[in-house]
Every structure is written in structure tokens, then in C-alpha cells.
Symmetry: C2
Subunit: 406 residues, 2 copies
Amino acid sequence: MTLVVQKFGGTSVANIDRIRHVAQRVAKTYDQGNDVVVILSAMAGVTDGLIELAQKAAEEPDKRELDVLLATGEQTTAALLAMMLQSMGYKAQSMLGHQAQVVTDCDYGNARILEIGAHRLLQLIEKHTIVVVAGFQGYDIKGNITTLGRGGSDTSAVAIAAATNADVCEIYTDVDGIYTADPNVCPKARKLKTITYDEMLNMASLGAKVLQIRSVGFAKKYDIPVHVRSSFNEEEGTMVVNEDSGMEQLVVSGVTHDKKQARVTITKVPDQPGVAAKVFSPISEAGIVVDMIIQNTRQGGKTDMTFTVPKLDFKRTMEISQKVAAQIGAEEVLGDTNIGMVSVIGVGMKNHAGVAAVMFNTLARDNINIIMIGTSEIRISCVIEEKYTELAVRVLHTAFGLDAEE
Amino acid sequence: MTLVVQKFGGTSVANIDRIRHVAQRVAKTYDQGNDVVVILSAMAGVTDGLIELAQKAAEEPDKRELDVLLATGEQTTAALLAMMLQSMGYKAQSMLGHQAQVVTDCDYGNARILEIGAHRLLQLIEKHTIVVVAGFQGYDIKGNITTLGRGGSDTSAVAIAAATNADVCEIYTDVDGIYTADPNVCPKARKLKTITYDEMLNMASLGAKVLQIRSVGFAKKYDIPVHVRSSFNEEEGTMVVNEDSGMEQLVVSGVTHDKKQARVTITKVPDQPGVAAKVFSPISEAGIVVDMIIQNTRQGGKTDMTFTVPKLDFKRTMEISQKVAAQIGAEEVLGDTNIGMVSVIGVGMKNHAGVAAVMFNTLARDNINIIMIGTSEIRISCVIEEKYTELAVRVLHTAFGLDAEE
């Protein structure tokens, strides 16, 4: 028999009617002759509501206790779906994180799954019981409840799919797959049939927030095919798979953009060993996530160092950077919140030298000036003036042959 | 050091402000040099809300899954109180039923505690950590979550007090102790300083719903002093203790009443072995709780059988009884919803023959006709016309010398 793991997010279980819809979907999959394990998030809004409640109880709620509180959200939906499936005549049973033996480290609020003791899950699956697992939660070696961070149910789903050797992990969400670009920005964007784990990893971190990035790493490690699809219709979504799984042979699979970054430049930094650490350690200690970092060697043992941070953290970053600049004897700190980032992503570009050239030429043709350039093995990102972001997405989408046919 | 177990009910943790009040109370007890274990109920109304939600999900929600759902209520309050105590600078930690190792049978919705593995509780107590245990919940031997039924947190508290060898179990509630009668009915009722477990057992089952009856049985078995007191003031409440613990020497400790019963009489039942089973088995199978049963032998091998059931179940009971009457060849079934029950309770009456006489004379003096009489070792109950119930409570309260001094 085929084993299908199905994960439904918060909007898919937002109320009793939506949960009933999920129950019907699960039942249908089961009736088609599959074993099914379901992973659920909390009802949309519930986790935020619980965080608010905690903040009323304590200014900085203890992290262990916050996880105990937050875990109730998924416990609720799991119990409701299980009783609903039973009332429809199906064998079903809920399992909480500790019952499904999802063992994590003890980093409350952002725990990582260490292993899953699939023994009890497999016992139920063998009896063809539909197992409904509360996502987002696990327990540490001492029996404390932990949660996996925002989007953690995706990781729960992929990890449980890996542990039970499932044939596919379906992620039901409110979008119907992965697109070549944001359809709101690029009307010609089209849904991809397949995408590689690596491309997805680059997509996710760039703002196409369909899957928790950690879950994609997990899926890649255990080679679990992940099917991203809509809980609102029956259409096929996008399969996230290994590179050699009969992919569409595209050089570039998608164009993403991000307007939430700001740029900081520290000029005339003495070019000495250890100076980068001196710049970035205090920023990282302040909990600010630096995305792109560019450094050009200049003459006279001085260099300019440029990096991007979330716009929300811009002011704090400027303050920290000014202190650091003074300490290390740099010249000055410049900042710019008026930027956008566009990226082209594709495993195909590894063997294709011309991608960067096509990208730069395309932007130049529309007089879009490139402020920064960053690359990874399968991604090229350009920082440009914010106002050109949408235009850049559209012209790149066309240039790389991604436009949907009319 | 003294170990105090404190249990707070739903009205005492109804919202963040009330929980803050509980935190202050717990902190005060701790600051006085005690170790403290706190047992919490869910916020008032939350359990009922969850049951409603479950009934929207399934007409007859599966009992296992319902317990998973209901357990979130106490999980929430336990986490909130623990984080609040921490933010006030106290060492505190929440424990769920399975973490506190409250092992029960697997009678979902009404599970009984089999044992408590106090090892982990005691470890925390030794470190002078305030432990906040989610009441009402446990787990069975297979790791399924169970709940203990209405008022189950009382039993959680007493059982944990027994397992940790606590010096006292304080039950904080919205009344300030046990009264000699319902003060709403009998203005001269006064608060008892002490009451025995046995008296409390008879009180609880007769409608003085301050403590879950099962918790009193537990307290008696392990000889745990239970202090019933108000969470709204600092006054001493009522101690529930063993008979030999220096009691007030009263013959009668209290007068209780119950207007929620109805009476059913089956006339001319053939007086044969097994006939009572034939009458009561179908009623019990329908989930109807029979309280008092009276049977007088009559001439000619026929007897009348009278019993009381909750008014809510009266109609169903009549229907079942009529079927049964036909089957066993009884004459007819009579019913009466217009009854009240008054009881006098006291361990003192065991050695005091005159109590029944005083009771019957007192009622007769006010022309209150007695319809049924039932007795236990420490209780005498009379069924009377409903309209006389309050009057009966007051005159009995005076007759047994219970009236508060002016």
C-alpha cells in the first residue's frame, strides 16, 4: 500500500467547516487505497492569540512554558480532526508530539528534530488507522514539550514522512504550487510542475514563503518527494524533488524578489584579518539577520563593506555599525532603505555560463542600475533601486523564457 | 520544610487577572517558608466551550479524542501560571498529567488514578521549585491522555498530595468553606471548622458540590487533611479530616437538601428473587443514576418499589419503567416530580439513637409529610413535598442546635 503524509496549514483548519473539508480530503485519499498520516497546524490566528495571552501573563514569557502553551493549538486541531474522521466511520487516532515520539533538542521555541521513534506510528499505520499528528511540537530527552518555530509543521510533516518511509509528503496550503515568479507582480508567471530541493531552498530564503526552509533541507537529506498543493482545489501542485527526477530542463526555474531589505555600507574599513568578525558579531548578537554581504578590495589597505538587513532592523543596525566603525577606524557608515532585490534561481545555471550576462543585459536594457551583485551556485541576486523591482521581475521572467503561453 | 498542595478551580483562574491573584497567593505561601505544588483547573467556561466545539466536529465525539481536546484547558492555565511566577522571580515549572506521571485507567472522560510516580515531582520540590501541575488529566499505561471527569482537579490535588506526602491539601474555591446548610436557604447556617471525610462524602453526594466526591474518598484513604477555603479572601475555611482529629462534638454536622430528584413508584411488583435487577438494569444501562431506593414487603407476594432519579431523566425513566412493569407483571408506574429531599448528616449519630426521632418530630411539628425515608450509617434522608424543602432545612437546622449565634 502507498503511504501518503498530508500536512494542512492554519488557514486549512481555520474553523470547524474548514476542518470538515480537510476530513473529506483525507477520507478521499484513504478511500483510494492509501494509508494516510495527517499533520496539522493550529487554527489560523490561534498561535498568535496564545502569544498575546502569554505576554499578558509575563513581559518576557519563559520559553519552556511558552512552548507548553503554544502546543495546545495543534493538540486542539488534531483531536477535532480525529473525532471527525471517526464520526465519518474511519479508524483514526490523534497523536501529540511526545506520543508520536518526535524527539528534539531543547531549544524551546525553535527546536530541531533529532529523531522520530516511528514504532508507534507504524503500528497504527499497519492497522490502516489514519493517524493525525499534532504538528509543530516535539519533546526533548527530559520529556519537556518543545516547538519547532514558525512553519514548524512543515518540518514535522517531512520528518514524519522520512521516519515512516512515506511515498510522498503533501503540503496543503493556500497557494496552489510554486510559481516562476510572484503572480501579483508578474502576470505571466506560471506554476512549476517540479522544482529541485536546492532551488526551493533558494526560493524560500528569498521570500517565496510556501515552505519552512528547514523542512526542505530535511526533505533533501532523506529524499522525500514533497507535493506543494492547494487545500482549496483538487489540482496538482508542484513536486519538490531531487535534481535527477526527470525535471523540466530549464536553465532558470524562477525569478524572486524581496523588498524588505535595507543596505548598509561601512566605508574604508582597514583590510585586516578578523575585521569582518568585528563588524558582524555585534549585529548577529543583536539578533539581526544579515542576508547579502559584499566586500571589494580597494587600494591602500582599505575596503568598503556592504551588507543587507531587514528594513525593520535598519535603525538598530546603523547604530551598531556606527559604534563598530569608530572602534575599527573605518571612515563612515552609509545606509539605504530604498532598495529591492531580484534573483534568478535554477539548478540549470550551474552548467550555463551565460545566465549572469543575460541577467545584467536585461536589466541594463531598461536602464535599471545594479547596486550590488551576489551569487550562489544556483542563484544570482541583484540589488537595485526599489522602484524598479517589479519591472525587473517581469523583464527577467520574459528573458529567461518563463512566461506562460498566451 | 512544610509541603503545601494548593488547588485552584476554574473561577479562581478565569482570566489573566485572576491568575495573577493566584500567583500572588502561591508566592505568599512560598515566602512563608513552604514548598508549594499548585494544581490548576481550566479557566471557567473553557471546558464547556471545548465540549461544544467537539460536538460541532462530531455528534458523539470519540472519548479518547475528547480527552485530548479537553486536556488543553489545564495545559493553558498551568503554563500561564508558571511563566507568571517566573516573571515574579520564583523558580517555577509546569507539568502536564503525563509529565507528573499521573497514571490512570483508560476510562476516558472519567478515568481513575491508579498511581502517581512522584519521582520527578519530588526532584523539583527538593530544589524548592514551585511545581504547577495541570489538574484533571493523566495518562493510561499506553500513553493515551485521559481526564478524570467533572471536578477531577480536586482528585488530582489530593492524589498528588498523597504521593508527595504533603502536609496539607488546600482546595481554593468560590465558597469559603463547608456550611451546616445552604446559607441561601438557611440564613442561620454557619461555617464548620472541621468535618470528617465520611460526613463530607455524604454531603457531596447530596448536592453540596464543593469537592469532587472521589477526591474525598482518596483523602480518606491516605489520610490527607483537606482545607477547603476561598480564593477571594484570606480566612480559614473548613478542614476535612479523620474522625479522631479533635472534632467539634456535634451529633449532626449539617443539613443538606436536593430539589433535583423525581420519584418513581412501580406498584405490585411480584416479590421474587432477581426482580430488582430486572427493574434497575435497563435504567442503569440508559445511564440514569438512581439515588434512593425503597422497597416495602406487602401482602400476597407483591411489593411496591420506589426510587428517585434526576428530574432531567424522569421522562425516560418512566418510559423504561413502564416497559419493565409490563414484562414483570407489575400493576402500574406512578411518578412525581414534585419532591424535595432533606438530609441530616453527622458521624455523631452513629452512637445516638434519637436523631431519627428528632428529625421526624421536627418535620411533623410543621405538618411536613414524609413520603420516603432512607438512611445510611451517618445520614438520614427524608423525601417530602418540594414546597416544604427550605422550611424543613431551617427547622432541622435549629432542632439540631446548628444555628449560628446571633
